[in-house]
């Protein structure tokens, strides 16, 4: 049985000029696997990830024919039930550590907060678990990082702290929304490899949301390509280069490559019926 099942998900924002649909009927199901969601800005990929956790505030509305996680109906779940799921069963890693960590709390306090409040651990036990989590994301000097404030860390370190924080409750599903877009390329590869190893070792499911098709193909089993709130194509990551849909092909072709030809890059043709 699949872990997460989403049928005809719609996210609508009521604006002064009428309703705007950010997600227009997205369906997918997820087992114990790594699923990538790719698209350009405005494609609805982030909204899809947030809708699973019901993290969309009014005037946004979430509608779906069905959205179940491990047998639990997410559309009918109370706010209290959702809180029990968030973090504990479904974790989320956000894009930018600068905005997602609490700037006036030390890393140690942020890491142990959940352990102490949610799991009722004592101070020493919580600290030990937090240290272990920091070691798991290969932070070299975890004691120093525990006492540091977020602004004292580099972007790569901050992102690792966020990964550590999300992995402490050992969720069944991890949603990573552009987890490395704020990072340099060499750091990005390092952080993604750490994330990949942890997800495999703990047998978690992963939804990896990114604008970078190549990155997603590398770290996922299956890729959904989104455009204007719809899934336009689903491909196995290994077969990405054989993708059929004009939008997917366009996304792949418009990227410059090292040693590629000097002629103008092909633009993206958005004239097909799929672009409506």
């Amino acid at each position: 049985m699949s872990l997460l099942d989403v049928r005809n998900l719609r996210v609508t924002f009521d604006t002064e000029t009428g309703p705007v649909q950010a997600v227009r009927g997205v369906s997918f199901s997820l087992g114990r696997e790594r699923l990538g969601i790719v698209g350009e800005s405005g494609s609805g990929k982030t909204m899809t990830g947030r809708a699973v956790l019901r993290l969309i505030r009014p005037p946004g509305r979430i509608e779906a024919d069905a959205m179940t996680f491990d047998g639990q109906d997410l559309m009918r779940a109370s706010e209290r039930d959702m809180r029990a799921l968030r973090g504990k069963r479904i974790g989320m890693i956000m894009q930018d550590p600068k905005f997602s960590l609490n700037p006036v709390m030390t890393v140690g306090r942020q890491l142990t907060e959940g352990l102490r409040l949610r799991d009722g651990l004592g101070r020493a036990d919580a600290a030990a678990k937090a240290l272990a989590a920091l070691q798991a994301v290969q932070i070299r000097d975890p004691e120093r990082v525990m006492d540091a404030y977020p602004h004292e860390l580099s972007g790569g370190m901050g992102q690792r702290v966020m990964i550590a924080m999300m992995l402490i409750p050992e969720p069944d599903l991890l949603i990573a929304d552009e987890p490395t877009s704020a990072l340099d390329v060499t750091v990005q590869a390092e952080v993604l490899t750490i994330l990949d190893t942890l997800v495999r070792d703990r047998n978690m499911s992963l939804i990896f949301i990114s604008h970078d098709l190549r990155l997603v193909a590398r770290f996922c089993d299956r890729v959904l390509v989104m455009y204007k709130g719809r899934i336009v194509e689903e491909v196995a990551a290994g077969k990405l280069l054989d993708a059929q849909h004009p939008y997917t092909r366009g996304l792949l072709n418009c990227l410059p490559r090292i040693g590629g030809p000097r002629e103008p890059l092909p633009g993206l043709d958005r004239t097909g019926a799929w672009a409506e």
């Binding site: 800005s41 390329v185 060499t186 098709l213 418009c254 410059p256 490559r257 090292i258 590629g260």
Partner: protein
């Protein structure tokens, strides 16, 4: 003689009483009509070099010469007519309360160039925007359209040199392709010289003839385009940057 000659350039900031060496002893030359790339990770000092050329960062050592002339300490109108810059974030680099028309005609007014009406329309057409965009405000434009306006503004005074600071890193891949194509077309049409900064090796490779890899404010290695494509780099850092480039991801599963 090269068009841009940078010798032993150093930029040092004082932050909280501590000295920060943003650029340390970097030298390179850019020939006329050449496209030269600076590549490196954040904090490598690549953008600081562009800012130092424009006078937006203090030159604390070394010399910058353009056309053989050391650049004056206050940059002045003559410099602006020769060298212009396009910034990274098109959301932050256009005045939000000025229309596109005002943004584009301001350099003409400052330099006392007549005929701004026709020039603004022509500038918009040159960067592939409809002339009707003149009376719009930046918030009515998409990211790619704004970056086109920023490029149009930089070209208003018909400079010879464009300094490009990550001109496409805030844009989607398909929009990036359009803007890179536009830049290449303009360079060919007007014989421009580019000095371009990016963290994306494949973008730099597509745009530039020669590349300087930077790390921690220092020059690591200068590469010709053919050497990059053939992975003929000699330093470990340049190689690690090459290996980590997203472009390589599909090649090595």
């Amino acid at each position: 003689m090269s068009l841009i000659e940078i010798d032993n350039l150093s930029v040092t900031f004082r932050a909280k009483g501590r000295l920060v060496h943003a650029v340390e002893g970097v030298s390179f030359r850019v020939e006329e009509r050449e496209s030269y790339g600076l590549v490196g990770e954040s904090g490598s000092g690549k953008s600081t070099i562009l800012r130092a050329i424009c006078g937006l960062a203090p030159v604390t050592g070394g010399t910058i010469r353009i056309n053989g002339q050391p650049i004056p300490s206050s940059r002045g109108a003559g410099f602006a007519a020769q060298v212009q810059m396009v910034f990274q974030d098109p959301y932050a680099s256009l005045h939000p309360r000025h229309t596109i028309d005002r943004t584009l005609s301001e350099p003409l007014a400052i330099h006392g160039i007549p005929g701004s009406d026709a020039r603004v329309v022509q500038a918009l057409v040159d960067v592939g925007l409809p002339p009707g965009f003149r009376f719009r405000y930046p918030h009515q434009l998409s990211g790619g359209q704004r970056q086109r306006v920023a490029i149009a503004r930089a070209l208003m005074l018909q400079p010879k040199i464009l300094l490009l600071d990550e001109p496409t890193s805030a844009l989607d891949a398909s929009v990036q392709a359009e803007v890179l194509n536009l830049l290449n077309r303009l360079r060919a049409e007007r014989g421009l010289t580019f000095l371009m900064v990016s963290h994306d090796l494949s973008v730099i490779d597509h745009m530039c003839d020669r590349i300087l890899v930077m790390q921690h404010g220092k020059a690591v290695e200068e590469l010709a385009r053919a050497d990059l494509a053939a992975a003929r780099m000699t330093t470990a850092y340049a190689r690690s940057l090459f290996e980590a480039s997203a472009d390589r991801m599909l090649a090595a599963p």
